[in-house]
Symmetry: C2
Subunit: 366 residues, 2 copies
Amino acid sequence: MNFSYFMPTKVVCGRDCVTASAAEFAPLGTHALIVTGKSSAKNGALDDVLTALGKNGQRATVFDRVIPNPTIACVREGIALLVSAGADFIVAIGGGSPMDAAKAIATLAVQERSDEEIFAGGYAPAALPMAHIPTTAGTGSEVTPYAILTNDFKETKTSITSPAMFPRVAFLDGKYMKDLPTMSAVNTAMDAFSHAVEGMLSRNATPMSDMLARESLHILYPLLKKTMGETTDEERDKLLYASMLAGMTIAQSGTTAVHGMGYCLTYFHGVDHGRANGLLLGETLRLCREKGVPALSEILAACGDTLEGVCATLDALLGTRENLPEAELSEFARRSAMNKNIKKSAYEPTEKELERIFLASCHTFH
Amino acid sequence: MNFSYFMPTKVVCGRDCVTASAAEFAPLGTHALIVTGKSSAKNGALDDVLTALGKNGQRATVFDRVIPNPTIACVREGIALLVSAGADFIVAIGGGSPMDAAKAIATLAVQERSDEEIFAGGYAPAALPMAHIPTTAGTGSEVTPYAILTNDFKETKTSITSPAMFPRVAFLDGKYMKDLPTMSAVNTAMDAFSHAVEGMLSRNATPMSDMLARESLHILYPLLKKTMGETTDEERDKLLYASMLAGMTIAQSGTTAVHGMGYCLTYFHGVDHGRANGLLLGETLRLCREKGVPALSEILAACGDTLEGVCATLDALLGTRENLPEAELSEFARRSAMNKNIKKSAYEPTEKELERIFLASCHTFH
């Protein structure tokens, strides 16, 4: 039993918790940069945050220009606004893109780096204080120390990390997910599912991350297909909670092969991040069965389903799979083989096996 | 789903983790007050801490005069030594008594209070940074924000708390438990068991505390009787881990009726804290069955035993029960009924029910 555990974010969960627990914002600073996307801002969360900050006499400047798969340029734009506004803390509202951009802004604002050095690692544990409000049940970024940014130097997505990137507080309220488009609900649910599964398939899994992942899967798996239709208030709350548990999982274990491969589909074909994971997950699990990866039976037990049952659920969520050239998928396998996430897999797939997964996960043509 | 979760302590777990992860001490300060008891210091932990601090060039002053059920006077003595030595952080080594005394020293050193005001609550979130090294598998204090002190004003034990009382880091290494006397191993195991059970019986239980408690019980319960004989390295590691999970549980939920009652047995008869809980737990669970408390079936499922099986396990651990005058036990029921922990029980026992529990939990005479 050799491991460490760290997750210092305070999680506040419940209906209207942003306004009811407005006092949680008070110690963070005097002027918030609210980091969000164009659509993330329209579900009521922004209004609630402004109300909460108002109660505390805190000022706010809104940066709502975060794009999906945020770039360094997007982060730089946020920092410029932060500086010109004189903001001293950050509130992130949205899915993974605003939350990850917010973490990068909070860190790079106090640790200057050239574009070339951003992905070089070695960040000091220093960042502006943050509050995060997830409005999708997928990323779990509200309880991780990672920010995943588009890395044009290496043509992929790459994480930056430091212990100070854990938000001080995360507010979980399923009401912000009420009008989430079905496609977003489905894709983000696949992302959360992939986090819990990959956490258990990680070389860095710990007794704590396994406990969190099992609990996440137990709650999340039966709800996966429900994201394709109308969900109840209670179901959305549970999805958000399970996504948070999956985030706590990967905060300990990191992600593995599925994420490492998925970044190619997102970078080169704009495939949604959660969908990219969902596309690759079934074949990855089949490889784990072949290789006798011990965690697989625990994953299936937590889901309460068979391997083929899980694959069928993913098939239903995915609908028609992407049609991509064989040669390009082989190239993705070559690229993925060098990805650091792949090396975190308990069973590390060979390049040939990665190619097999890519080819079996998409429709292909010559 | 309405709850909050907070447990910012970094947990480092593994053989020789104190010396292997010496760097974890570095950010805490320049001069440590090591807070421990006469026996706690003799299991190798003190040597390891001194080695680790030496690696970092940090100075150390040892305060090894913590007594069981520490008093305000004991805490004051520690603060005086801290001040005269010029220490700026604290390392606690031992069971609940040194760890709780350390937390009180860390807090009262930066927030002055008269003896009369110590239990009045309202502490600001400020304390000297701490590292905790549990050397028994029972208290879980290494991951809670509570310090339980002897309260002579009210003739009981009372907790003080603030978010800053969470240690910065906790080191879990079962090797320090190798020479623990059997009686201590048994009593502390009953304390941990009681934490997990009471967490699930709490009015303040949350989805997170329930998850932690179930995992703790699943690991701990099969090991309870083993503490009566020789344990293996692996079993001691598991006991320590399960105790930590039970601590994380009560960090969220607090303790309930069993602790509220047990303090009387400890204050007036010097009954060991863990044993006091063990004595009262079986009858408390029988009352929960009578009252249809829903958590009971979850507790038993996590233990993998029946109610009478759990009671029989406790009987085996307890051996001959204390022989106490009936009238005094009735008086304890009266006192307990006013205890704040009692009111945290999902089912709050009446004074009559508390009396029944006390009378059935001890041998009695007129």
